[in-house]
């Protein structure tokens, strides 16, 4: 057997190991499903999410309205389906911005070391001290409600989540001899970052971003719940929980229940997917 064949067998072997994590597979399916639903919302939703029907206020589950209707007769299922879009896009934006900034800062800190590292790490520690929710609430009270301001505020708040973990890994990676060898070849720093450091850090970035997504979704829903995020009549899960709230008093808990369960299930799915990825990509649980 030549080296080549052995290497090939090893590679095949690694692929074979990479199957069967039922929990992660299930979580991945839930995530994939909800993303699909968000993409196809107008096609699969049975009703216009904002179409009021005075004749069917607080209708119970039926063939016409699977999950019933809300206080103005809007179809709850259609609102959940359409609500997937803002409910997913907002945390996605948070994670995307935070990951981009966090990765850059982490690599920069690990690369430069010295006072640059101390300044970046110090600032990250300070930001880490403020819960994302508080920062989003403060920002929304200053700049007015809506999804944009809380998303930007939370992007900043989530930077340490990515950057602190990544800085350590980047530091380890940066001190590996192959980086020095690349420098000697005259490889420009940006190229080392982009083509060599980043690909080797990608597994950690992926895991942190996935877990962060779950947290961000929950936080955004909370912001909407307290009225500083998505504004009525937009269909958004957190907002649906809060606008369905009064209904509980008159025995109409359906909207709160369904939107609440949706949030919980999806957050859990992202968390399980994240820890599954962590086991798979990094070989360690979260």
């Amino acid at each position: 057997m030549s080296t080549y064949q052995i290497a090939g067998a090893l590679r095949g072997g690694r692929r074979r190991v990479a199957v069967a994590d039922p929990v992660m597979t299930a979580a991945g399916c839930v995530v994939a499903l909800v993303v699909l639903v968000a993409l196809l919302a107008p096609l699969i939703a049975p009703y216009d999410p904002n179409a009021v029907d005075p004749a069917a206020v607080y209708a119970g589950p039926s063939g016409a309205h699977w999950l019933g209707t809300d206080d103005t007769g809007r179809d709850i299922l259609s609102r959940l389906i359409h609500g997937a879009r803002p409910s997913l896009i907002a945390p996605a934006a948070v994670v995307l911005l935070a990951t981009a900034a966090g990765t850059t800062l982490a690599i920069a800190a690990a690369w430069a070391g010295g006072w640059v590292d101390r300044v970046i790490s110090g600032v990250l520690d300070v930001i880490f001290g403020f819960p994302g929710l508080i920062m989003a609430v403060v920002a929304a009270t200053i700049f007015g409600p809506g999804l944009l301001v809380p998303v930007l505020a939370m992007s900043i708040a989530y930077v340490p989540l990515i950057a602190r973990v990544l800085r350590n890994s980047a530091l380890k990676e940066r001190n590996l001899p192959y980086i020095a060898a690349l420098q000697l070849l005259g490889t420009p720093t940006w190229r080392i970052w982009l083509r060599h450091l980043l690909p080797n850090l990608l597994p950690i970035v992926t895991v942190q971003a996935t877990v962060g997504f779950g947290y961000a979704l929950l936080d955004i829903a909370a912001i909407s719940f307290i009225g500083l995020g998505a504004q009525p009549p937009q269909a958004e899960w957190g907002l649906m929980v809060s606008s369905g709230y009064p209904g509980i008093l008159s025995g109409q808990a359906g909207q709160v229940l369904y939107s609440g369960i949706t949030i919980v299930v999806i957050v859990i799915a992202f968390n399980l997917l994240g820890s599954g990825l962590s086991r798979k990509l990094l070989g360690e649980g979260l």
Binding site: A7, G113, Y178, Q183, L184, L185
Partner: protein, 325 residues
Amino acid sequence: MSSPLLSLEGLGLELRVDGSYRSVIHQVDLTVGRGEAVGLVGESGSGKSLTARSVLRLLPPGARLRGDIRFDGMPVPQSGSSALRTFRSTEIAMIFQDPRAHINPVRSIGDFLTEGLVTTRGLPRRQAEAKVVALLQEVGVADAARRMRQHPHELSGGLLQRVMIAAALAAEPKLLLADEPTTALDVTTQAEVMAIIDEARAERGLAMLFITHDLELAAAVCDRIAVMYAGSVVEDLPAGALHDRSAHPYTRALLASRPSIGERGGSLRAIPGRPLSAFEVGAGCAFAPRCSRAQETCRTQRPSLSPAGKGSAACLFPGSEAPSV
């Protein structure tokens, strides 16, 4: 002949350890002429690798470098400058001890080899690949085209070291820094790799600074030997004079502590005491505590390199008679 290709004068280096500075190189004076091979020999921790890295300013953050490093008569560019990048990629190439650690495992061999040519020379990819394949064949890699597509884990250590040598040659440097290039390889592969380096050097008129702890190997492949102890060069002499004409007690003790094929029987003469780290060195000669010839002055006065025997030695009482250990 004008100035030497590489000259180090009064090189000193301090590294930050736990917030305070520790001296790891005290005094290195060394020159490498054009086309000359110089062996830098010393035990682990004597500062030989860091000496080579200092030349390229490839040092950990916060390192303090003293002294004068000149290449081709010009000072080596300041760190962080683009001139340094050009300098590193065109003038000097380095061959590392552990090739597996020095090649990004997620990139292919071809990517690694063409990296320098494409990014700093601006060579088109095709051209760079053709050049590199030719180099791989030159260093004895069969089936070079296929190797280019493989990843480091698919190659053996000896093969990877050849890839490393090819990468070094691709830059068309004037000086090769070889940092224990054969230490991680088994003995038969060692000989092959040394032969490849030797041949490539002869063909191109390359100068080499060969770092090793193998005194015999250095004597075999180099023109001149510089012996380092605890952060300083203690002796610098022609390779041919090593066995008979070395003047520094440390060099002589090293030679005496090695087994040789010629003389059988008898126990090896170990050097008493333990090797000092550079930062532990006091005022006097670093070797004094272990030296059989040490006098009172050796403990208070630090010798510097001065002519002795066929080269120069940093010893107050150099001599060529065997030390009585």
